[in-house]
Amino acid sequence: MTGVIIAGAAETDRLGKLPDHSTLQLHIEGALNAVADAGLSLRDIDGIATVSAPGPVQVAHALGITPDWIDGTGVGGTSFLLHVRHAAAAIRAGYARTILITHGESGRSRVGASRFRPDASSPPGQFEAPYGTFGPTTTFTIPLLRYMKEYGLTHEQLAYVAVAQRRWAAKNPRAAFRDPITVEDVLASRMVAYPFHLLECCLVTDGGGALIVTSADRAAEFPKPAVHVLGTGESSETPMISQMVDFTESQAFRLAGRAAFAEAGIGVTDVDHLMIYDAFAHVPIYGLEALGFVAKGEAGPFIADGNTEPGGPLPLNTNGGGLSYTHTGMYGMFAIQEGVRQLRGEAAAQLDAPQISVILGNGGMFATSGVLVLGRSPRS
């Protein structure tokens, strides 16, 4: 089977508060940076993938691209991981040769951004919004008390997730928050939605990024080391948090992870670097258990014992994550970017020559998931 690589990867020049950039501008800047990173020109691009709005037609048109292949899969913040998976299939099928995947979001400044509000006749509009849900802080958070009761996770262990990630962010000049924090700081921060304090919730920023995906037989054509797409998976579970099958585990994470690990032919002990989408502090806990790194109920103590922070055996969210690095709203693109940087050897908090990086994406509120297994080398 044809190997597939990520040949170009870049973020926007700046992340954070960018009121001088519209959503579309962020897509364009990320795209141009990724094309340059791959040593290509826009004329080389024959496939386009991104989410709406603005969507692939708008982004392709803005860049002067006439695509032979289009993917507008928009299933939340994990969409870009699904785009990589779909792009790999398209390249193997011969539908496209050089695919551009873009993300841009004016999540903080809301310049040229659409407003999200469920239609009052949709299932979430009828059966959740009337009860005062108001975005992810009121919905993504609901499963955790059940997990805490079933598995004994403590408030301190939850808070420690933010502490561990801040230790990575401290090494990263591009991270939004870099000052060290303690469990006490986290628990003293403002209550947003019990049991979640402010420092257990992700940032809200502006930014973007893009990827160039192509076939592995072209690896030598590009200026940067190729990052091989070794395995991919995707799944969906529920459009409403209230209908999640079991509030103590993510079925979508588990199924997407199983598919990606099986395709790559790896197990958890092969993984050198891990990114788990962290919109909130509990999501890495659910992710570690869904991927099988630890048994059910063990992820909280595992993180609190220092296993995932600098110096630990399982480096997790090494850019600082959504909790400390950046979170535009659809964070998946940034998780992929850090995996690529680590495998290329160009990360701010660079690990010692990692061979395998796994990226777990989340969309919506445990609604969807994509998983990528990326490698420094082709599959052996």
Binding site: F134, T139, I142, M191, Y194, P195, S242
Partner: protein, 141 residues
Amino acid sequence: MVGSVSVAAKPVPVPTPETQPFWDGCAVGELRLQRCGDCGRAYFYPRPVCPSCGSRNVSWFTASGRATLYSYVINHRPAPGFEDDTPYAIAVVQLEEGPRMMTNITGLPATPEALELDMPLRVRFEPRGDVTLPMFGPEEN
């Protein structure tokens, strides 16, 4: 506060053909669910197919209204229209018949001490706009 601020109204659901019997039930004080005539499982939210087995042989019945508290958050950043209720509990209850649904908890303080997981609850109904919403509160002895 002296108010010239226009306060947004709480969201009012707009029924669709497949959900209308549910809302009609709420209006007369009944919590109506659907059950599959083939596999026997009850389910929520309303739709014309059994999510367990794919059967179209489904029918409505009136649930007991008894439930237990499955999980919740106590929200401190109000949705538009909920300013006067804050903090308020957004909960998911486990209905006696099996399905779960989102709700608010009424008749109890919105505190972790008052809201114990697995505590028994019972449905009650509150009018809002053109519809009546199911809410859950403590079992009354």
